[in-house]
């Protein structure tokens, strides 16, 4: 079977569903492809609330957020292919995929990549120790508990204080698994402040900042985790070792954007895009965690919506950018997204600072934008709105942060 379409969207998580809807609303024929048997991505297993506060102005659980999008999709003629795996995206705009019905090809005018991210695995960290079971990424533990009703531990240590790690500390605790602490290598938590409060402090779960796992031990199943303090230069502080007797280590040590199978556009490590979500191949757009890792699904869905719109316009030859202005990371900036601006369109700039500030002033030059952020931290994404502008001489924009005395 062969298909032709205006817009193909790969990945039906929050970004992909929003992209498919918006491409449809902008008049495109849309195919949405999902490799899992069910759409929704990680939303399916995030049964806690706190989703949708910005995007829907409602406090939803993950599954409710997904269902809201799914119900809207059901009223459209968007073709959703679940249990479908993309084998190849070719430069001549052909997408080959496989599912239980066979191997098929779509000829598309535009593509939106909304392939999300995967969790960095403990095995890749090169931490020495025994070969044991009982080491799970937070997402896997969450899936076992929330979707499969399976309890993978009796006692646990969490490594990494990203949001998923914090959420899982609470979740494990509530299901009767003894959580002996959360270990974070950096001197500040990796997740949102609200999660540190609601998931750790509220349950008296200790947070060990500037600590790192140095060794895991056990005979077949995990038994002991060795943790030491780390100094500013990243060295182990002598005599600071603690031993945790736990049968599980739950890791939340970062997310890595998934960009497969598109291999011919610029990535770093996620897709590099413009404010209109266009990658370095003009027919391929990208949004959500496959570009940079966002704090909230609300941002992800908003980006997906935008990508879907521009992909639809591109497919109809109604969006052709004239020029792109580079956005550069200046002083004290760790992450910036997007990397390029089409000045005819407005921009939502997402910024992460590279250290903790009491009071940060963030500047966007030469546009003359200055914003003040109280307690700016790398773990909290800062949004900056930039209006479209006609100043043609600007070739480069630089974003910097500095402490206000």
């Amino acid at each position: 079977m062969r298909y032709e379409t205006d817009v193909t969207v790969i990945g039906a998580g929050g970004a992909g569903m929003a992209a498919a809807l918006s491409a449809h609303r902008n008049g495109a024929d849309v195919i949405l492809i999902e490799r899992e048997e069910e759409s929704g991505g990680v939303l399916n297993q995030c049964i806690h609330n706190g989703f949708g506060l910005h995007y829907y102005r409602k406090d939803l659980t993950g599954p409710e957020f997904k269902e809201t999008l799914e119900e809207e999709l059901a009223t459209t003629n968007v073709k959703v292919l679940e249990g479908t795996f993309v084998l190849d995206v070719s430069k001549d705009k052909k997408i080959t995929f496989v599912n239980s019905k066979g191997i098929h090809e779509v000829k598309t005018k535009a593509l939106v990549m909304t392939t999300g991210a995967r969790e960095r695995h403990f095995n890749s960290l090169g931490i020495p120790g025994d070969r044991v079971s009982g080491i799970f990424t937070a997402g896997v533990a969450q899936k076992y508990i929330n979707l499969q009703n399976l309890k993978p531990a009796n006692s646990a240590l969490i490594v990494g204080s990203g949001d998923i790690g914090l959420i899982m500390a609470r979740r494990l605790h509530l299901e009767g698994i003894e959580v002996k602490g959360v270990v974070e290598i950096l001197p500040y938590p990796g997740g949102l402040e609200r999660n540190v409060q609601q998931c750790l402090r509220d349950y008296n779960i200790p947070l060990y900042l500037s600590h790192s796992v140095t060794r895991v031990e056990g005979k077949n199943r995990l038994d002991k985790v060795y943790v030491s303090q780390i100094d500013e230069a990243g060295r182990i502080v002598p005599n600071s070792e603690r031993v945790f007797n736990v049968d599980a280590l739950i890791t939340s040590v970062g997310l890595i954007p998934s960009v497969k199978p598109v291999e011919f556009v610029r990535t770093g490590p996620g897709f590099i895009t413009t404010n209109t979500n266009q990658t370095t191949a003009d027919w391929i757009f990208a949004a959500g965690n496959c570009t940079v890792i966002f704090d909230l699904v609300d941002y992800v869905a908003r980006e997906g919506e935008k990508a879907g719109k521009y992909a639809a316009l591109y497919a109809k030859n109604e969006y052709v950018p004239e020029e792109r202005i580079t956005i550069k990371k200046g002083k004290n900036i760790n992450i910036i997204h997007p990397s390029y601006i089409d000045p005819n369109e407005s921009t939502k700039l997402y910024v992460r600072v590279s250290k903790v500030f009491q009071r940060a002033e963030i500047t966007v030059e030469p546009l003359g934008i200055e914003i003040i952020e109280e307690e700016a931290r790398p773990s909290e994404m800062i949004e900056i709105h930039i209006k479209s502008f006609k100043e043609k001489r600007i070739k480069e924009i630089e974003v910097s942060a500095h402490e206000l005395g």
Partner: protein, 475 residues
């Protein structure tokens, strides 16, 4: 009945070789799975056979083993990629050693090698250390998946009427008439006419149960990094100039497109110590970066692991008949994987037939070919589509990193895989960059569906390696 003790590559291939003549072969494996000892944690290299000490049993069997891998690959449906190997000279002192390698190769009767000058070397391997001056290139060297050789061998034994029994740890041996009464830890007893001891790290201890002494075995740990497929580093196996003790720390392309860096070689106390160490991993990094400076240990690491090799003070294979008339196949250190098919023939054709004067005749009903379920993503689309028409599960990708279908996984379980690692080593699930994050929970479910096991009874590998404690709530 002929008993083979040990279900690694060596035991598996010996059982298969005997099975060509005699149906009544039993293979006893102490662990919960086949090929999980020495067989699992090594470099996976089919060596060229040029550099083993001339006159040693290693040298005698390595080259023959290398040549036999064509047949093994065909008959057991195993991937063998003859990607070649380079031994690199990085400075003037190492240049001189290239001559020594040539002399050894001549003594070992290995002719398949070339000396490559710098330009030719860098045409083939542009990412090598820029100091590299010359290489000893051996085009017949290659890589394979050692555990697959063991797994397919035992499959061949089962196909031809032999028996493969796991969780059979030999604890006592009694002589009865001319037979051996073998008692296992689980209380079972079997009587064998002939016994072959291929117990790997434990071959010295097993020999003692028969009242025989073989050279003592010292476990030597080798630590490795596995790097992902995203970056292209090298095309062939890269060796440093070898020392007296080891072949050194290498950079090795794996069969499925990743890379291994390692191993170290340090004697350890325990035969059960498969742990990685801070010093060992640091050593691998330092040494492998000397060969390929672009190896990205900060972003490209998939996992680290350690394996044990059965070293003896003699540093050679010990393959002989003990005074008990048991055949001991011991001290199978590097190049044991390469030599294994030749060891199997040596045992059957030389030790059993010539030295023990047991006349064997080839079975007429012997089936030499063992099928494997194809890895569909590597087949052509026409074939794959027909497979999906017959079984829609052939179109459902479960492992996203290595693109393994539900059909492949189900087949592995139907072939006897009961643990996550058995499915992993049969199909390559969870070998990729996500290390099973997306698929292991689904595999666990499938094992339960197929076998009736409860989730809490599904193991990662050995006894005690549980994954699930219980249900969260009883419904």
């Amino acid at each position: 009945m002929i008993a083979v003790i040990g279900g690694g590559i060596v035991g598996g291939l010996i059982a298969r070789e005997i099975n060509k003549y005699i149906e009544d072969v039993y293979l006893f494996e102490a662990k919960n799975s086949i090929g999980t000892g020495i067989t699992k944690g090594n470099s996976g290299i089919i060596h060229g056979g040029y550099d083993d000490p001339p006159g040693s049993l290693r040298a005698q069997l390595c080259y023959i083993g290398n040549q036999l891998y064509d047949e093994i690959s065909r008959e057991l449906s195993i991937e063998v990629r003859r990607i070649g190997s380079h031994v690199i000279a990085l400075d003037e002192s190492e240049l001189a050693k290239i001559n020594e390698l040539e002399e050894k190769a001549a003594k070992n009767n290995v002719k398949e090698y070339r000396i490559l000058e710098r330009n030719d070397l860098f045409d083939m391997e542009p990412n090598l250390n820029a100091d590299a001056l010359m290489s000893f290139y051996c085009p017949i060297a290659g890589v394979t998946e050692p555990w697959k050789v063991a797994m397919q061998s035992v499959k061949s034994v089962e196909l031809n009427g032999g028996k493969v029994l796991k969780n059979k740890k030999l604890v006592e041996v009694k002589r009865k008439d001319n037979k051996f009464e073998l008692s296992f830890e689980d209380g079972s007893v079997y009587t064998a006419d002939l016994v072959i001891n291929a117990a790997g790290l434990y071959a010295d201890e097993v020999a003692r149960l028969f009242g025989d002494e073989v050279p003592a075995i010292f476990p030597v740990k080798g630590e490795y990094f596995l790097l992902g497929k995203d970056v292209k580093y090298v095309n062939s196996v890269i060796f440093p100039m070898p020392s007296e003790l080891t072949k050194g720390c290498l950079v090795i392309p794996t069969v499925d497109g990743g890379y291994l860096a390692g191993p170290t070689a340090h004697e350890v106390k325990s035969k059960q110590d498969f742990s990685t160490t801070r010093d060992g991993l640091a050593e691998v990094k330092e040494k492998s970066l000397r060969l390929v400076p672009s190896l990205d240990f900060s972003r490209n690491v998939v996992k680290t692991f350690a394996g044990l090799r059965p070293e003896s003070r003699e540093k050679d294979f010990y393959i002989d008949i003990g005074k008990s008339s048991v055949i001991h196949v011991s001290g199978i250190r590097s190049p044991g994987l390469t030599a294994a098919p030749a060891i199997a023939r040596y045992v059957v054709e030389y030790l059993i037939q010539e030295k023990l004067h047991i006349n064997l005749e080839k079975r007429k009903d012997y089936i030499s070919h063992v099928e494997k379920i194809p890895h569909f993503v590597d087949t052509d689309y026409g074939y794959w589509v027909r497979a999906i028409e017959q079984d829609p599960e052939a179109g459902e990708i479960v492992c996203f990193c290595n693109e393994v279908t539900k059909r492949e996984i189900r087949e592995a379980i139907r072939n006897g895989a009961r643990t996550i690692d058995e499915v992993k080593f049969a199909t390559r699930i969870s070998f990729g960059e996500c290390q099973g994050s997306f698929c292991v929970s689904k595999i666990l479910k499938m094992i339960c569906e197929e076998t009736g096991l409860e989730p809490k009874d599904v193991l990662q590998n050995e006894k005690g390696s549980w994954i699930i404690d219980s249900e969260v709530r009883t419904i």
